[in-house]
């Protein structure tokens, strides 16, 4: 009976993992297909689509996307820590309501946010913020809830006696934050920032309205290309950016331990 | 006639290259209170987990009521288990917690209710049926945990440091109670702990573990009175443990040299230690007596002179450190009635019975 259950459980796990990976595998396969039709299991293999990526029409948007994602993850990391500090650590007055407000952008469809931001900037005459600065701000709105949530979870679990211990040893507020709080919430913060990075890097619905002429992000370039042709270069772009993000995550993991907070030790 | 309830035959457990339990064999008699005692990391919890069936031995055999348990999952072993942190189900009432085991056996509702009230009665928690665990104190939670474990009437109850989360007073009260419950039910208790006092207070037998092996097994008094290794001597109670060597002396006694030969004591000859193998000598503090009080001793004793170095008052007793001839320091435990006579710097005459000088091989 138990052996059967274990077997069933393993089979279910394998099936779920197959469900997760199948579409990715299919696209990876398509990116090596020599014909322009996107097919599964191409009969021949080619790297031509990857070679085509080394071109400013893909590289420039890629660099902009990277720049954007870095700025957005850093900024929302900073803002997220501040917000989480007030809500989860200092437990300011009305912290539950404030937490709900900080998370509220999550429940607005992105296109509505995009149009709203453009409308707002235009209506107060800040046309020059459209483009990369506006894009940064809009992406921060998008990513902030994730960072706040993860940083707040880490801070809720923070043992306040540690703070008292540091205080009795003479540490000032800033020293306590710098040497006690931040190191202990680091993995929560970093996973929030990693999410921010990924979300910003892959975003389409908000960016469509905010990219500036001549400065386009990678996903927007992909979508535009899609209007004209549906060829494996798209698959190649996606596979390449997936690899890039994986690399970025490994880097984050090295710095901050992205998955650390999801590993064991629930005490 | 005592029957064997649980038997371990050459059981080992390895995690990677790490040998946590190394070839231990045990036989636990039915209806006894048996403690597995050892410092953290000695393999006692792993042993418990193997008996419970949460971990499979890497080699060897575990038998419960004579049956090999290989491949038998925990739920089919019909034993009870009490955890250190109680592990009460937070979403169930006391009654639901205690009745869980009976419910799992598919017993009818009346029988479950019956079993629950019987179990709660034996831990003196009648009237708490509808409370939730978090509404109870630590001691009450502990009793619920015990009640839950005994409700399905297992023949064996495993207890994994069940008292260590309680404060001292409560812990001492619970010791007595646990022992009473065990005797009332006639159940086999296997009690894992690192607290030697606890083990001494309750057990019929103690199994001392160290580094994955059984260091000594026996009745509490035997283990205390004649520890077989310096580890056991040190771990159980207080003792003076000194590097020593021995050679045959007069009257079938042994001559024991301490502190590089500067002090010599006489020890009664035991049968189990060859003089050449002696490495340590162990003297319990209460065996280091003041000579005047020892006058009445009807057995041969070593006589020494020493200087009191330090005195610590423990209430009923005092603990004193004496520097004796030959430059050796011995700890002594003396009844407080003689307190007024002792202070640092006093010269005192001491007596240590030959039989109290124990010789150890390791």
């Amino acid at each position: 009976m138990n052996r059967l259950l274990t077997y069933l459980f393993r089979t279910a796990l394998a099936a779920i993992l197959a469900f997760i990976t199948l579409p990715l595998v299919v696209v990876v396969a398509a990116s090596f297909s020599p014909t322009s039709a996107v097919t599964f299991l191409p009969s021949e293999w080619t790297l031509q689509w990857y070679a085509a990526l080394w071109d400013s029409r893909w590289l420039d948007p890629f660099l902009l996307s990277v720049e954007l994602a870095v700025i957005v993850s850093l900024a929302s990391g900073l803002l997220g820590v501040l917000g989480a500090y007030s809500v989860a650590y200092a437990k300011c007055p009305g912290h539950t309501a404030i937490m709900a407000l900080l998370l509220s952008p999550m429940s607005v469809p992105q296109i509505v946010k995009g149009v709203a931001v453009v409308l707002f900037l235009s209506s107060i005459g800040l046309y020059d913020l459209l483009g990369t600065p506006g894009l940064v701000m809009a992406h921060i709105i998008l990513t902030l809830p994730y960072v706040v949530r993860m940083a707040a979870t880490a801070m809720f679990g923070f043992d306040k006696r540690l703070d008292r211990a540091a205080r009795i040893l003479g540490a000032s507020v800033t020293q306590r934050i710098r040497y006690v709080l931040l190191p202990l919430i680091r993995s929560g913060l970093f996973s929030g920032m990693t999410f921010a990075f990924i979300i910003s890097f892959n975003n389409i619905p908000l960016s469509v309205f905010l990219v500036r002429p001549g400065q386009t992000t990678l996903p927007i370039t992909v979508i535009n290309h899609l209007e004209y042709s549906l060829d494996p270069v798209l698959a190649a772009v996606n596979v390449a950016s997936l690899l890039f993000i994986l690399g970025a995550i490994i880097l984050f993991e090295k710095i901050g331990g992205f998955s650390a907070q999801f590993h064991g030790g629930s005490k | 006639m005592t029957t064997i309830d649980i038997e371990l035959l050459s059981v080992s457990k390895q995690f990677g290259a790490n040998r946590i339990v190394d070839d231990i064999s045990l036989a636990i008699p039915k209806g006894k209170f048996v403690s597995i005692l050892g410092p953290s990391g000695c393999g006692k919890t792993t042993t418990l987990n193997m008996i419970a069936g949460f971990e499979a031995p890497s080699s060897g055999q575990i038998r419960i009521r004579g049956r090999d348990q290989e491949g038998v999952p925990p739920e089919a072993r019909k034993i009870g288990l009490v955890f250190q942190n109680y592990a009460l189900f937070p979403h169930m009432t006391v009654a639901q917690n205690v009745g869980f085991g009976l419910k799992m056996q598919g017993r009818p509702r009346e029988e479950i209710a019956d079993g629950v009230s019987r179990a709660l009665k034996s831990v003196h928690l009648e009237g708490f049926e509808d409370r939730y665990p978090k509404e109870l104190s630590g001691g009450q939670q502990q009793r619920v945990a015990v009640a839950r474990a005994i409700a399905p009437s297992p023949s064996v109850l495993l207890l994994d440091e069940p008292l260590s989360n309680l404060d001292l007073k409560l812990r001492e009260a619970m010791r007595v109670e646990l022992k009473e419950i065990q005797e009332d039910l006639g159940m086999t208790f296997i009690y894992v702990t690192h607290d030697q006092e606890e083990a001494m207070a309750m057990s019929d037998r103690i199994i001392v573990m160290q580094g994955g092996v059984v260091a000594q097994e026996g009745a509490p008094a035997d283990i205390y009175g004649s520890p077989r290794t310096s580890f056991v001597a040190d771990f159980i109670g207080k003792s003076n443990i000194l590097p020593a060597s021995a050679e045959p002396g007069a009257d079938r006694n042994l001559k024991v040299s301490l502190g590089a030969g500067k002090a010599v004591l006489t020890a009664a000859r035991g049968d189990d230690v060859a003089p050449d193998n002696v490495r340590f000598c162990c003297i319990r503090p209460e065996a280091v007596r003041l000579a005047e009080a020892a006058g009445a001793l009807d057995e041969p004793a070593n006589r020494l002179t020493g200087t009191v170095q330090k005195v610590v008052n423990l209430g009923a007793y005092i603990e004193a450190w004496m520097l004796v001839d030959g430059g050796i320091t011995l700890k002594s435990m003396i009844r407080s009635t003689r307190l007024e006579k002792l202070s640092a710097g006093c010269r005192v005459d001491l007596a240590i019975a030959h039989s109290a000088v124990q010789l150890l091989e390791q």
Binding site: A37, S122, I220, Y228 | -
Partner: protein
């Protein structure tokens, strides 16, 4: 002054823009093959003649571009944008687009008045395509010459339709309406009736032209409505396809150059519009991108003339709906499309 801090980066970037470059112009248009041809045939000659640096922006479809102009109240960040006559009219009405004057864009005079009228005063027609019937030459026995060919039993499950959010859909409906005794605007019941039948033939609806293309390329679809400019690109790519302008006529896709009301580089933008409308530019564009022109005085090879709209007669043969009136009906038609056409496909 509350916005000083926020404005600072903007001011810096404006200063940099003013000092760092010579005159620049931002042109928003399409990507893909379009981009290659417009760069070579129009933008590079323009840069050479006027010494103005053109930044090419391929982001967004015409409707996304228009939404952006609307949201920014005429300051979308680009100076010239390629849209269609419908958006030219709408933008003019809303005051979001620059009205062209003959003084600033003299070449407007040379456009056929028929077609210039369609786009209104804010749109400079630089290209005319028409809705053609694109088909696989290897699958269809004979060349179709009527839109009704799409309703043939032989094409059941072998055609594909655009979704209503692709403007081809509304135009196709109007064409069928006219072909079946209705008109372009009021009496469109015959059009929807025909579309419902067509939906029964169709394997489905696709929003994106490129996805529609893949069905044709893969041979799952043998015929479909398609803008003839892109149809020609497919023909040139060597696929066994061809396209016709069926006898019932067709509705044109009148592509326009527009300048948003508050374009940063207005003068250069107007120069660019005028340049694109010059005879030589129009000839270069028509022969390069294989489309029709609103200028009827251009000289192009006979094979192109045969397939493209290049003459007054060609223009007069087209069905020209009142786009402003169509715009007000679009929403109602969209709902009717859901009820009559999409439902019929299931």
């Amino acid at each position: 002054m509350r916005y000083t801090a926020l404005c600072a980066p903007a001011i810096v970037s404006m200063v940099l823009a003013a000092n760092g470059h010579a005159e620049t112009l931002i042109v928003n248009s399409y990507g893909g093959p379009y981009e290659t041809i417009i760069r070579e045939r129009i933008i590079e000659p323009f840069e050479a003649r006027f010494g103005i640096k053109v930044i090419y922006d391929a982001v967004g479809s015409a409707s996304q571009d228009y939404a952006k102009i609307k949201a920014t109240n005429g300051r979308p960040g680009f100076d010239v944008v390629v849209m269609t006559a419908s958006q030219s009219l709408e933008g003019c009405k809303e005051g979001l687009l620059e009205e062209f004057s003959p003084e600033e864009v003299p070449n407007l005079e040379h456009l056929s008045s028929v077609i210039a009228g369609v786009a209104g005063p804010c749109g400079a027609v630089h290209e005319v395509q028409y809705l053609s019937l694109l088909y696989r030459t290897d699958k269809l026995a004979e060349r179709p010459n009527s839109w009704n060919a799409l309703l043939d039993d032989g094409l059941k499950g072998k055609i594909i339709l655009p979704t209503f959010q692709n403007v081809m859909a509304a135009y196709l409906m109007e064409i069928f309406s006219v072909a079946h005794g209705g008109d372009l605007l009021e009496n469109i019941d015959p059009g929807f009736a025909a579309m419902a039948k067509l939906a029964g033939q169709s394997i489905g609806f696709e929003q994106s032209s490129s996805v529609m293309e893949t069905y044709l390329k893969g041979g799952d679809v043998w015929a479909m409505p398609f803008w003839n400019g892109r149809a020609q690109l497919l023909v040139d790519s060597g696929l066994p396809v061809d396209y016709v302008l069926p006898k019932e006529g067709s509705i044109p896709l009148v592509a326009t150059l527009n300048v948003p009301k508050h374009a940063a580089n207005r003068d250069a933008a107007l120069k660019f519009v005028n340049f694109f409308l010059e005879k030589s530019s129009q000839e270069a564009w028509v022969t390069g991108y294989k489309v029709g022109s609103g200028r009827i005085d251009i000289e192009v090879p006979a094979d192109i003339r045969a397939k493209q709209i290049t003459t007054e007669a060609d223009l007069k043969a087209l069905l020209l709906p009142d786009l402003a009136a169509v715009a007000t009906r679009l929403s109602a038609w969209g709902e009717r499309w859901e009820r009559d056409v999409v439902a019929a496909a299931k």
